[in-house]
């Protein structure tokens, strides 16, 4: 019941039902909250699992490998398990592995980042996948950003609004949803076999070109949205000063649209860095024990190595896979961080 007097011109047939409406609003808000919590919990579960497996408590023996004494992890327990049951695990170690030392063993360590992969988990490193991924993503970003932005500018600023334009728009949006393996097959035909002279075959360059194709639809869609968001009044002001179309776009539209375009680029790069199937198709290998000598050399990438470790029977390789995931996520976060910094610097308010 309302605490205020009813307005005297109100007809009696208004049924306010204020409390029912408010309740409905509350339910809606709680559903949204539940969705958010679900998302956060899923992410949390992923991080919990991965971190628990990459930073472990382990029973560590020693063995000789190629003339040197190296650790040999015979059993691992997740980080979280060991926090609460340290004594219990210590006892188990002493019982089952009398030769072993019980200690904290982090699979993400400096050796992991500098060593090449090995059949011995404790000596295995992430070096070639890490370098390969960084090279592929670096070249992809350098290529896809200008191409995607240029295409978006052309479609938005210079394109006609006819039916051709609509067909192009629909197709670009659809391309963003094409399974990535298709890009791999395309890349194999065009970049590895067709343009083999330019790329050198199954190389970083072929991989980067393929990933560029994959990223372009996402960047173009995001860039077009950002360009559209620039108010027409800005364009009109520039044109009214006797500026050409290009001068208006370059000096006013593009700088204002830049934060949105960067967001699209980072989203595309985040997807590209996790792609496995298309890169395997174009010939990325799994075990590479040397640094690529340049962009025209053989390579491997992080997701491929992670998947390979996950499928091996020895349990400690699964810990390595988690360590690889931790590194991959760190790089993703860094990339996002850089994009956010660039966004802040170039952001303008109306």
């Amino acid at each position: 019941m309302s605490s205020l007097p009813t307005p005297k011109n109100r007809e009696a047939i208004f049924t306010d039902r204020l409390s029912a409406r408010k309740r409905r609003g509350m339910i809606f808000r709680n559903v949204c909250l539940a969705m958010t919590i679900f998302g956060v919990l899923s992410l949390g579960a992923l991080l919990y699992d991965t971190i628990g497996s990459a930073f472990t408590w382990a029973a560590v023996e020693e063995r000789e490998v190629r003339g040197r004494v190296q650790p040999n992890v015979v059993q691992t327990w997740s980080l979280w398990e060991g926090i609460y049951n340290r004594d219990e695990l210590q006892r188990l170690t002493a019982e089952n592995y009398p030769e072993a030392e019980f200690r904290f063993f982090s699979w993400v360590n400096i050796n992991f980042l500098t060593n090449f992969p090995s059949r011995f988990p404790e000596l295995s490193g992430f070096r070639s996948p890490l370098i390969g991924s960084l090279m592929v993503i670096g070249i992809t970003a350098l290529l896809s950003f200008p191409i995607g932005t240029g295409a978006a500018i052309f479609l938005e600023e210079y394109g006609t609004k006819g039916w051709i334009s609509r067909i192009i728009e629909t197709n670009i949006a659809n391309l963003a949803g094409v399974p990535s393996i298709i890009y791999g097959l395309l890349g194999l035909t065009i970049f590895v076999r067709g343009a083999g002279g330019l790329t050198g075959g199954q190389t970083v360059l072929a991989g980067a070109f393929t990933m560029t194709l994959l990223s372009l639809p996402i960047i173009i869609v995001a860039a077009r949205e950002s360009i559209r968001a620039v108010p027409p009044s800005q364009r009109q002001a520039a044109l009214a000063l006797g500026a050409t179309r290009w001068e208006t776009t370059y000096s006013h539209v593009l700088p204002s649209a830049l934060p949105g375009i960067l967001t699209g680029t980072i989203l595309a790069m985040s997807r590209a860095i996790g792609e496995t199937a298309p890169l395997i198709t174009i010939g990325a290998l799994t075990y590479v024990a040397f640094d690529p000598s340049g962009a025209r050399d053989i390579f491997t990438v992080m997701p491929i190595q992670i998947f390979n470790w996950v499928t091996l029977p020895q349990a400690t390789f699964h810990n390595l896979a988690s360590a690889g995931i931790v590194v991959l996520l760190s790089i993703l976060l860094t990339m996002n961080g850089i994009a956010i910094v660039i966004r802040r610097k170039t952001e303008r308010t109306w």
Binding site: R119, T286, I298, P313
Partner: protein, 358 residues
């Protein structure tokens, strides 16, 4: 690493009379060095000079053989400073496609080359040398809570897995009336894998013929989770996966006609565990085999097989088999035994030799 000459120089360089001996010794060692390079040293016992080797060649193919080839490439990489051997995991079939296109020097295969693949190689003028490198005992595994099965015959497995079993054989007591009334949950590799090809060949009798309603995956670890988590589940995987998960799975002995045999390193190696003891192969491009770094690597592979293969979870052949293989490689005997004898799966090492090698 010609250690002799270096040691000679450091210890003897100061004394004049011994300097003559040192110099003469160096000359002799140098000549031996040259002789080794020229191949005058007996090919049966080569002494490759690793330091001189350089180059790169690619290995690709089966994910089953990958751990062995990768281990070999790693160890060989430590002995040489300039040889690069990247290894891929495109699958047996994918590996042959690339191999017969001339893109790889060595292909890993968990099954013999198929006639159609051999034709493709021939069409591209590629000759290959077939070398079986190890044995994998395909193990039939059940959940530890399953106490009604200890041994199964090939016929029982066939009943379980043949194509006509799809939708029909869904309960354990259909395999044997003495088994309890429990749903039959099957796990196995996907239809793309060489493991699947081999299993269907020897159990069902025809490659690629199986029921479709089982849980398949390319990642054996997922299948292990499935079997370990279900009381009435059954699956087949490589022996290495059983070895690593013994506390979660129970082994089933297989009766191939001569009684129940459990897969162990011995029974697989000596051929007792039949018919699921399968050879896994590498195929080497005959042209690439002439390159010194490739030849050296393959020699190393076969010589170190005894030491490294058990490490990665497979079973090495008997020594004399590797000797025969080294000879086959040196002779450059191309072609596949399976195309010559028209048999597509064998048990025991007899079936892996060419007629003239026996």
């Amino acid at each position: 690493m010609p250690a002799g000459s270096e040691r000679g120089q450091s210890a003897f360089s100061s004394m004049p009379r011994l300097r003559v001996i040192r110099n003469t010794g160096a000359v002799w060692i140098g000549m031996l060095f040259l002789a080794a390079c020229a191949g005058i040293v007996s090919p049966e016992n080569p002494d490759p000079v690793y330091d001189d080797l350089s180059g790169r060649f690619i290995i690709d193919g089966s994910s089953t053989v990958y751990p062995i080839s990768q281990a070999m490439a790693e160890e060989f990489g430590y002995l040489t400073s300039d040889v690069q051997i990247p290894v891929g995991v495109s699958g047996s079939g994918g590996g042959f496609t690339k191999f017969c296109a001339g893109e790889t020097a060595i292909t890993d295969a968990s099954r013999p080359i198929k006639p159609i693949e051999a034709e493709l190689c021939e069409a591209n003028n590629i000759e290959f040398i077939e070398i079986p490198v190890a044995l994998d005992g395909l193990s039939v595994l059940i959940n530890p809570a399953n106490d009604w099965v200890e041994c199964m015959t090939v016929e029982q497995l066939e009943t379980m897995w043949e194509p006509t079993a799809e939708g029909v054989i869904t309960n354990w007591n259909q395999i044997d009336p003495s088994f309890p009334d429990q749903p039959l949950l099957l796990y196995g590799p996907g239809t793309d894998s060489g493991t699947y090809d081999y299993f269907t060949e020897v159990i069902v009798g025809e490659e690629g013929a199986s029921r479709g309603d089982y849980t398949g995956s390319e990642d054996d670890n997922i299948l292990i989770q499935g079997v370990a988590g279900n009381n009435s589940a059954l699956g087949f995987f490589g022996y290495a996966y059983y070895e690593e998960n013994q506390d979660r799975l129970k082994l089933v002995a297989v009766d191939g006609g001569d009684g129940c045999v459990e897969p162990t390193a011995e029974t697989i190696a000596n051929g007792e565990y039949q018919p699921l003891s399968r050879p896994i192969f590498i195929y080497i491009n005959a042209e690439d085999a002439a390159r010194p770094e490739v030849a050296s690597f393959v020699n190393f592979y076969l010589e170190e097989a005894d030491d490294i293969i058990p490490d990665v979870g497979y079973i090495p052949f008997m020594d004399n088999f590797y000797d025969a293989m080294i000879e086959r490689f040196h002779d450059g005997r191309t072609g596949s035994v399976f195309l010559v004898t028209d048999v597509t799966a064998v048990s025991g090492t007899e079936g892996l030799l060419f007629p003239e090698e026996k």
